[in-house]
C-alpha cells in the first residue's frame, strides 16, 4: 500500500473514530479511557504509517494498538494501587483481543449516548463527539456555543453515564422501539440543525448533515429489521437530494415549488425512493417512513402542478393519525390547498394554534394572497417577519411581501 498522506490519515481517523472508541469502551468499560486510548493509537499511527504504509485493516491496527498500549499503561498505574486502573484492567481481562473482522460496537455506544436519562442537548453533543469523531471545538461552532460550555456538557454527560451506571447495551426487544425512537430523534435533530439554520459556518453545518446521514446509514445497516430506521435514512437522503436546489445564487432560500428540479441529486432520490418502497412492503408505517413517503411523492413529480397532491394529503392523514401535531396539520393544509383550493386550506389553517410559528403566518399570507385578500396577506407576512430572526427566511418573506402587488 502507498504511503498515506496527512489528508488520508485525517480521513481514516475521522471515519474510524466511532468504531474504535466503541470497541475500546467494551474492552475497558470506561468512556474517557477509551477516548484516551484511541487518541494515543492515532498518535502512534501518525508516527508509524508514513514509514510502514497503511496496514491491511487500519481499524484493526488502531484497536489492537490502543488496547495494548493502554493495558501497558494501566499495569504501570495499577501497581501504584490505582483503583480506577485496576478496575479497567480487570474489565479488559474478560475481553478477548480482536481477531479477524472487527465486531461493530457502535450501536451499543449509540444507545448509551442517546439514553433518555441524558438531556437532549447532551445526547446530541455526545453522539457527535463519540460516534462522529467531531472535536468539541467543531461541535461548539456548529451549535454557536462557547467551546467551554460544550466541553462541560460532554464532561457532565460522561460523568452521569459512569456514576449512574448507564449501560453500554442495545436495549431488550421490549424496550427497543421506544429507545430506538429516541436515537432516531437525536439523528434527525442533528440533521435539522445542519439543514435549517443559515447562521454559523456553512461548512460545519454541512458536516452536521453528512454526519446525520452517516449515522442514519449505520442504524439502517445494523437494525435492518426496524422500518423506522430505514424511514429516517430515506427521509434524510430525499432531503439531501434537494440541497443544491434549495439555495439560490445569493444564498437565499428557494421553496420547493420554485426549485430547479434538474438540480436534484438523482442518485440520492433513487436510493431514498427504493428505501420508501421497501418500507411500504414491510407495511409497519411510522412517522419517519410517512415523512419519507411524502418526500418521495415530491421527488417523483416533474413540477408542483404535476405532483400527486391527493396522495400527499392521504399520507399526511396517516401521519396525523399516528403523530398528531399542529405543524403536521399545517403542512397537510398546504397540500389540501392544491387539491381543494386555498379557501378550504385557509379554514383549516385558521383553526391551528401556532401563532408563534413564523411559517404559520407565511402560509396564511400565501393562501390569503391566492384568494385576492392582499391587505390581510401583507399583514400576515409582516407578522411572519416579526417571528423569525433567520436572515435568509426574512429575505424570502420580504420578496413574497413585495410580490403581492
Amino acid at each position: 500500500m502507498a504511503q498515506p498522506s496527512t489528508a488520508d490519515l485525517e480521513r481514516i481517523f475521522r471515519e474510524e473514530y466511532g468504531r474504535t472508541v466503541a470497541v475500546l469502551v467494551r474492552v475497558f468499560g470506561d468512556l474517557d479511557l477509551a477516548e484516551e486510548a484511541v487518541q494515543d493509537a492515532f498518535a502512534a499511527a501518525v508516527r508509524a504509517w508514513p514509514e510502514s504504509g497503511l496496514p491491511p485493516s487500519p481499524a484493526g491496527w488502531l484497536i489492537t494498538t490502543a488496547r495494548n498500549r493502554t493495558i501497558d499503561r494501566l499495569r504501570r498505574e495499577a501497581s501504584r494501587q490505582d483503583r480506577y486502573a485496576q478496575a479497567a484492567l480487570l474489565h479488559a481481562r474478560g475481553e478477548p483481543a480482536e481477531e479477524g473482522p472487527v465486531r461493530d460496537e457502535r450501536l451499543r455506544l449509540l444507545f448509551t449516548c442517546c439514553h433518555p436519562a441524558l438531556a437532549m442537548s447532551a445526547r446530541v453533543a455526545l453522539t457527535l463527539r463519540l460516534l462522529g469523531g467531531l472535536t468539541t471545538a467543531e461541535i461548539a461552532r456548529a451549535f454557536l456555543l462557547p467551546e467551554p460550555t460544550l466541553a462541560q456538557r460532554i464532561v457532565r454527560a460522561k460523568a452521569k453515564i459512569r456514576d449512574a451506571g448507564i449501560p453500554y447495551r442495545v436495549p431488550d426487544e421490549a424496550d427497543l422501539p421506544e429507545r430506538l425512537a429516541g436515537v432516531l430523534a437525536v439523528v434527525y435533530l442533528i440533521y435539522n440543525e445542519g439543514h435549517t439554520a443559515s447562521t454559523g459556518q456553512a461548512l460545519v453545518r454541512e458536516d452536521l448533515c453528512a454526519e446525520a446521514v452517516r449515522l442514519a446509514r449505520l442504524l439502517a445497516g445494523l437494525l435492518p429489521g426496524e422500518p423506522e430506521a430505514l424511514g429516517l435514512l430515506a427521509l434524510l437522503l430525499l432531503s439531501e437530494s434537494r440541497r443544491a436546489a434549495r439555495t439560490g445564487e445569493n444564498g437565499e432560500v428557494v421553496l420547493l415549488a420554485d426549485q430547479d428540479r434538474g438540480r436534484w441529486d438523482r442518485a440520492l432520490v433513487a436510493e431514498g425512493q427504493a428505501l420508501v418502497r421497501e418500507c411500504l412492503r414491510r407495511n409497519r408505517p411510522g412517522p419517519y417512513q410517512l415523512q419519507a413517503a411524502i418526500n418521495a411523492v415530491h421527488s417523483d413529480a416533474p413540477s408542483t402542478a404535476e405532483t400527486d397532491w391527493h396522495q400527499i394529503v392521504r399520507l399526511y392523514d396517516q401521519l396525523l393519525a399516528i403523530a398528531p401535531n399542529p405543524v403536521v396539520a399545517l403542512n397537510r393544509a398546504v397540500a389540501v390547498a392544491e387539491v381543494e383550493g386555498p379557501a378550504v386550506a385557509l379554514a383549516l389553517v385558521d383553526e391551528l394554534k401556532l401563532d408563534r410559528y413564523h411559517l404559520f403566518h407565511a402560509i396564511r399570507a400565501d393562501l390569503l394572497g391566492r384568494l385576492g385578500r392582499t391587505g390581510e396577506a401583507a399583514r400576515a407576512y409582516e407578522t411572519a417577519l416579526e417571528r423569525t430572526a433567520n436572515e435568509a427566511e426574512q429575505a424570502l418573506l420580504r420578496r413574497r411581501l413585495a410580490g403581492l402587488g
Binding site: H115, A117, D163, A164, G165, I166, P167, R169, P171, D175
Partner: protein, 117 residues
C-alpha cells in the same frame, strides 16, 4: 452491583381518599415482594409528614434544634426505596414500577459505593 435510591415525591398538604390510599398500599406491597423475589430489595419505607421533622444545625460548638422540615416546598420526600441493580436501565425499570404503584414522581439516584455482594 450498584445501589440506587428511589425517592418518592408527594405534594405537600392534602391526603388521598382512604380507598385510593389502600390501593396504593396494596400495589406497593406487591412491588416490594417482587423486589425481594428478584434479589433487588435493600430497604423501603414511608415517612410521616414534614411537620413531624426536626432539623439539627451545627453552630460553633453547639447544635441548634428547630421544629419543621429542612426546606419548605410544594413537594416533599414522602418515602423511599433502596434497590440493588445491575445498571441504570434496571434501576429505571423498578423506578417506573414504583411511580406507577404510588402514582407519584420518583427520583432515581445512584449511591457512590458499589453494593458488596
Amino acid at each position: 452491583m450498584k445501589q440506587y435510591l428511589l425517592s418518592i415525591y408527594q405534594p405537600t398538604g392534602g391526603v388521598p381518599a382512604p380507598d385510593v390510599l389502600a390501593g396504593v398500599m396494596r400495589d406497593l406491597e406487591r412491588l416490594n415482594q417482587e423486589l425481594r423475589a428478584a434479589g433487588a430489595w435493600v430497604f423501603a419505607g414511608g415517612l410521616h409528614s414534614p411537620e413531624s421533622a426536626t432539623v439539627l444545625r451545627p453552630d460553633g460548638d453547639h447544635v441548634l434544634t428547630t421544629d419543621g422540615p429542612f426546606a419548605e416546598g410544594k413537594e416533599h420526600l414522602g418515602g423511599f426505596t433502596i434497590i440493588r441493580a445491575e445498571d441504570l436501565d434496571s434501576a429505571l425499570h423498578w423506578g417506573r414500577r414504583l411511580a406507577k404503584a404510588t402514582t407519584l414522581p420518583v427520583e432515581v439516584r445512584p449511591f457512590q459505593d458499589e453494593a458488596g455482594d
